[in-house]
Every structure is written in structure tokens, then in C-alpha cells.
Symmetry: C2
Subunit: 185 residues, 2 copies
Amino acid sequence: MNPSSAAAAAAHFSPVSSTAFRDGLARLPGAVTVITTNGPAGAAGFTASAVCSVSDSPPTVLVCMNRSSFAHRFFAGNGVLCINVLSAAQQDLSALFANREVAMDQRFARTPWQACASGAPGLDGALVQLDGRIAATHEVGTHSIFIVELGEVRLADAGASHEGLAYFGRRYHALGASSPATQPA
Amino acid sequence: MNPSSAAAAAAHFSPVSSTAFRDGLARLPGAVTVITTNGPAGAAGFTASAVCSVSDSPPTVLVCMNRSSFAHRFFAGNGVLCINVLSAAQQDLSALFANREVAMDQRFARTPWQACASGAPGLDGALVQLDGRIAATHEVGTHSIFIVELGEVRLADAGASHEGLAYFGRRYHALGASSPATQPA
């Protein structure tokens, strides 16, 4: 940003309210994922939708996480994580890993998983497991942005559900072979 | 990340191939948006799916953009942008703003829009327009991550389409009132 445009933008700027922010973001479709880690700090997993692709060179994605979350220290301490992208058949896992009353060991006891290359739990049946190391962390407001370089990508077996799961308008939507609007441009 | 876990993670790490990365990311559902800007550097807009919520305090989102993109300098120069979240009725705009053969002025000439508070074009009919200023930029590999503080959130009129649009499995999916799998947990 050059100084003159930054100054012009800043002169008129006031932030939107939290309510307007949340109502607006409810209209941004997002993936439903469970982010997991394991290592010296211990095992943890939480449900997240703030995940996106960054760059394929190096192969990099990002995950946003509230620093005040109970699980945050496990991720910062282990330096590795796996993004488990849930299928339409896995809404129960979204609820399980978002439930603060269920201890971390109980979450993993109720969910079949296999360790990924990083050691993070890869949840059985996930559409894809995106496993890697935290290459950098940027702090923004209440959240950390974990920049994750991928070391392993595991696609679900052919026998598993391949319907996707999105969150939009404050509810889940299945993304199946029967629901595409058209082919891409 | 503590030094010992970083060392342990680094010892076994090698990045996945670009092909594995792209096949994996094709299974991550994403929004379909047109990111716009205007100001001293000129008007520009491009189609993007790498957008996510960061924090509601301050109200912040992020957008990832390839630095080698023709449009990059407009965003860096203006320091403001609007994320137009497309509805299921706006797939034509996704194609228009991804078409390198259509000049920027022609894109906006073919699309009804109104300037947002920042000056960035807000596209008529978008499910929501998330308008703000670029508060910080982080460079990761080939891409810039724009950290955007929101100054205006405009929801579509009641008369507009409220069906969402997602990209998953390399095609579009409509997210309508008829397609939810269940209510959220």
C-alpha cells in the first residue's frame, strides 16, 4: 500500500460492529474441518471452518485459531497439524470436536484415526487429510494464523463417502454428485 | 512452536508435489467471490476462493492473491478491497472476472455495481459485500495474504437470490434452502 492511499483509506475508516461482521460472514460458504495435532505438547483436535489454500509453491495452506482457545497451546507446542476435511457423512465429528465438554482423549477414543507423517491424527473417512508443519504464525487480533507447509496429502479410499460438507447460512449443506449447479467455466 | 518439536518436525519433512497438493485442495469446499478494488492505482477485480474469516475483534478477514497476477498491483496500490460473495445466480460473474482476455474496464462495464465506503466496487446481487482496508500483508511463497479490516458489510436485498455458491470437486454447487443436510449441532 502506498502512503497516500493508506492515508486516504484510514481517514474515512471505522470498523463494523461484531453483529454486522457475524451476519455478513454467515453468508460466506466454508468447509467443515477438524484440525488435529500430536507431539510433545499432547494430542488435540478442534472443529474449524477458517481454512484456505495459500500457495502451491511451496505447498501451503493456512488455519486461523483463537489464541484464547484451550487447544491453542497444543498446536503452538507441537508445531504440526493435520486438516481433516469432513465429508457429508461426518457431521457428528463436527459436533464432537466442537463440544467443550468432551475431553481431548475422549474425542479421539470415539473416532477411528491413524497417525499422519507429522504424528497428527488423521481421521478415518475424511475426504482428504492435509498434514504438515507450522512454518510461520501471524497474530491478528484475537487469532493466530498458522501457515502450514504440507508434507502429506491423503485422499479418502474409494469406498468412503465422497460427498462434501459446507457450512453456510448457519447450517450444514451436503455437496454431492447430485447437487452441482453447472460445470465450471 | 518450541525448538525441540520444530526440530523433530523438520527432520522428517519433505513437501508434497504440486499435483498431490492440487488434488487434495480440490476436496476443500470454498466460497466463490469476486475481489474488487478502486483508488489511485485504478479499478480491478478478480475471482477468488481463498478467503476466510480471521477475527471479529477487530472485524478481520483475509484474502490470498498471487503476486504475479496482473491485478495484484491495483490492490497493493489502493490499500482497500471489497469481497463480493457470489450467489448461485452469479456463476457468470465468476467466469467473467477469471477471464484474462477481458480488460478490467470491460468487466465492470458488464456488471452493475455501486461503490462501497472504501471506493471499491460492490457488485449488485452479491450475497454480501465485505468492504475494508488492507491492514497488513504477509508474503508466503508465490502469494500475498491481505489482512483486511472491515468497515462496511452490505447484505443483499431481500429480493435477491439468497442461494449460496460453493466450489468443490472442481465444479460449482448451489447451496439452497432445499439442500441442507441437517441443522447445525
